[in-house]
Chain length 131, copies 2
């Protein structure tokens, strides 16, 4: 016999949003749309996120944005080749995907001189609500 | 003759990321992909953001994600009709677009019972760097 501690709702309104800024990155990598798409897709897949669709735009004279629509929410890259810098965010709902791992893999691919990463808990903390 | 206080870089690595959770929203609105696309596009345009492309996906049995690729970065909606709740984020670089205004307009359209909004300054604070 199990003790019923309460059934969580079907759609858990909870997630982790990882915001990162990397600086001192090779400008050529930051202006290479295909490299950025492939690197983001690979990092998300290895972090157990499911990529449903990706879109990207290269701006003039430089800079790229890539967005990934995930089963678990979304991820984005916004690059500044002229500054050697990039904004990253990976937001995943539920508890399967590992957004911090995705950002770590991106940093390993981009080899920044410095980085700033913060993780924000969003929605409800069901783990604590149940206790 | 003007005093040269230093020229900021061409691509300013700065932006405001507004993260919001709205709860107590009509579930029908949160499962209406076209309404959500139109409402997000309208809110962004009225906030002086430039929408380059939008993508959306309706999940089974319910729930919608909408992503907008902006000249100024991106915006997203992730809905939980079964819970009456929605995650919103609007990230805009530079100083033209008004991401908090976009979130305010979305809240006016969705009429939540409660809301939680936070604004995160990302990158460099050039206004303070120049002083």
């Amino acid at each position: 016999m199990s003790v019923d501690t309460g059934t969580p709702p079907v759609g858990l309104f909870t997630g982790q949003h990882v915001l990162a800024e990397l600086e001192g990155v090779d400008p050529e990598l930051l202006d290479d749309e295909q490299f950025l798409r492939d690197t983001l897709h690979n990092a998300l897949s290895l972090s157990h996120a499911t990529v449903c669709q990706m879109i990207a735009k290269r701006f003039e004279p430089q800079g790229v944005t890539v967005l990934a629509l995930l089963s678990e929410s979304h991820a984005s890259l916004h690059t500044y080749p002229e500054d050697g810098s990039i904004f990253i965010d990976v937001f995943t709902c539920g508890h399967t995907a590992q957004p911090e791992r995705a950002v770590q893999l991106l940093a390993e691919a981009l080899k920044p001189a410095s980085q700033n990463v913060q993780t924000i808990q969003r929605g409800h903390d069901y783990a604590n609500l149940a206790s």
